[in-house]
Symmetry: C2
Subunit: 339 residues, 2 copies
């Protein structure tokens, strides 16, 4: 049972995390080399099948039990006019998720994932990070625990995403504090603000990070001082999944920024994670580079709500179906290379 | 009924080709703007849904009847040692396709496409293009017609791919003659030849194109003098699909090179086509640039047999499922932008 009630607890939970099962991973790589195709010809599909085999601990991974968790939260900083939409939209979109009308509903149905929507105290926005810390320690611990509690005991894969008006600003502030650089490098249009709006977002996150300083030291302090409830919950889910050896697929900029805070405690914290896609939101490419992770897809998407993760699940299904279903050269009676 | 018995017939068949239904396309674009997401936030998925709507002639496109056609052929030039595999493998892989053991079988099952494998006279390899034309006019016309005949009268989408030991060399020769440049820019490792093998392939295609000259003027002459039977068949299928207003998805380097010959007759010949993925085979990026087409995926794949096209079908299903299934802002009671 993972409990994440403070900085010490997160650091502890990330200290002795399980790695992949290298025997299963190597067996999967051996199998790939015997399938009826030139070695490496399925490219990323081969890598993904082998990666899944390692984290699932079996030569032939499966994707029967895939859960999609979408965390929602509201942000005090939204009052500064950093979004093109009013904050009511967070709750309205949660209702839309529950009614089945959002993009993620269609994509989960198509890709075969069970969707859970976890609103984290929508009626209690975090405090305005320009002037004070987003959450108290107790509030942040509760949000982290909401994420831990949302992770099933067993699963083949988790897709993690979020919804929260104003949260590209929060994610940019977290990224600035985690990885440094210029504020302007981390901000983008979000749901669709103008160039002036983007400049305003940069001013806002600069002010927030000037207030806290950049050396926050741990995921807990980053999330508590600059984050959001849904981002803390998402980070909690990443940690819990690791302890249960469940591989995860991160959605776009906001999800990656939340998960990336964990590398402050352990550089290997995201080894069980995949970046589903390169978001069109400006800071995501840089975030992927900082994490040395290569997104699977690049479809110019920037919706959030786990939509990129769900499309990525389709590619993972292609990886697993070829890995498990193809014949080997000897089974099919196909000649191997001229040597 | 499309008949492609010579250069004149292809040019004629490509002269008056139907374009997309702009009314349906515009209606689809209008619908995208009303769905519960920021405008453009689904990126390429939105573009793909709108593109399909135009070619299928309905605001809400469907993907119920998707056919995958894999054309196979053998190449005299393979005797020059341009492949890592013996030519027997073409027929062996056709048997593997029929037995269900290849990558494309798993991917078609996963993505919901009906697979047809069309061997085009495997026991009659084309002639060695270094010393003589690959086919006679009658042979090329027969191969083209095999492609035309393989296209169903009605379909929502076609996936087009190929199999043929030696055919990355043939495709490189076609690309060199169609678009010019240095031979070395068009050749890659194919099924896995060494650096010396790649240099040898460049010499081979240089010799072939020195023999024919680069100004072959029409798809028919390109395919007949430098092509292969499966490549001519694939080009024939592209033309037939256009006349039936069926959108198509091209696989990788070889499929694109075959289809690209058609732009010699009409620069708009591939408006109904999508490049499924950027192949890891060296010449494909250049080919995509020459055609001004942006591949949907970049997964480092280089297998052929329509495998990239089948993975792309999964993305098209994501595009259609969101386009058709999502609620509009007014249906869901979600507030629109602050303006």
């Amino acid at each position: 049972m993972v409990s994440l009630s403070g900085a010490h607890e997160i650091a502890g939970a990330l200290r002795d995390v399980p790695g992949p099962d290298v025997v299963s991973r190597d067996a999967a790589a051996d199998r790939q080399a015997r399938l009826t195709k030139p070695a490496g010809a399925l490219g990323r599909l081969e890598e993904l099948a082998i990666w899944l085999a390692g984290w699932q601990g079996r030569e032939r991974p499966g994707l029967d039990r895939v859960h999609c968790l979408v965390f929602a939260g509201n942000h005090g900083v939204a009052a500064r006019g950093v979004s093109a939409y009013p904050t009511d939209v967070t709750a309205q979109m949660v209702a839309n998720f529950r009614a089945g009308g959002a993009a993620i509903n269609q994509l989960c149905r198509l890709a075969g994932a069970e969707l859970s929507v976890i609103p984290v105290e929508l009626d209690r926005p975090t405090r305005d990070i320009v002037v004070e810390d987003a959450m108290t320690e107790a509030e942040c611990a509760m949000a982290l625990q909401a994420g831990v509690d949302a992770v099933p005991e067993e699963a083949d894969l988790l897709l993690l995403g979020e919804m929260g008006i104003g949260n590209t600003t929060t994610a940019a502030a977290l990224s600035l504090a985690t990885f440094g650089g210029a504020a302007s490098a981390w901000v983008g249009a979000g749901t669709g603000v103008s160039d002036a709006g983007i400049a305003h977002k940069a001013d806002v996150i600069n002010a927030a990070v000037e207030r806290t300083g950049r050396s926050l030291g741990s995921a807990f302090h980053l999330l508590r001082r600059l984050g959001g409830r849904e981002l803390a919950a998402l980070a909690g889910a990443v940690v819990a999944a690791r302890h249960r050896s469940i591989p995860i697929v991160l959605d776009g900029f906001v999800s990656t920024a939340a998960a990336a805070t964990l590398v402050a405690d352990n550089p290997a914290a995201l080894d069980h994670a995949l970046l589903s896609h390169l978001s069109a939101e400006a800071g995501h490419r840089r975030l992927a580079e900082c994490l040395r992770m290569k997104p699977v897809l690049d479809l110019d998407m920037r919706l959030g709500e786990a939509s990129g993760a769900a499309v990525c699940l389709l590619v993972l299904r292609a990886a697993v179906s070829t890995h498990v279903g193809m014949s080997t050269f000897s089974e099919a009676g196909v000649s191997t290379r001229d040597e």
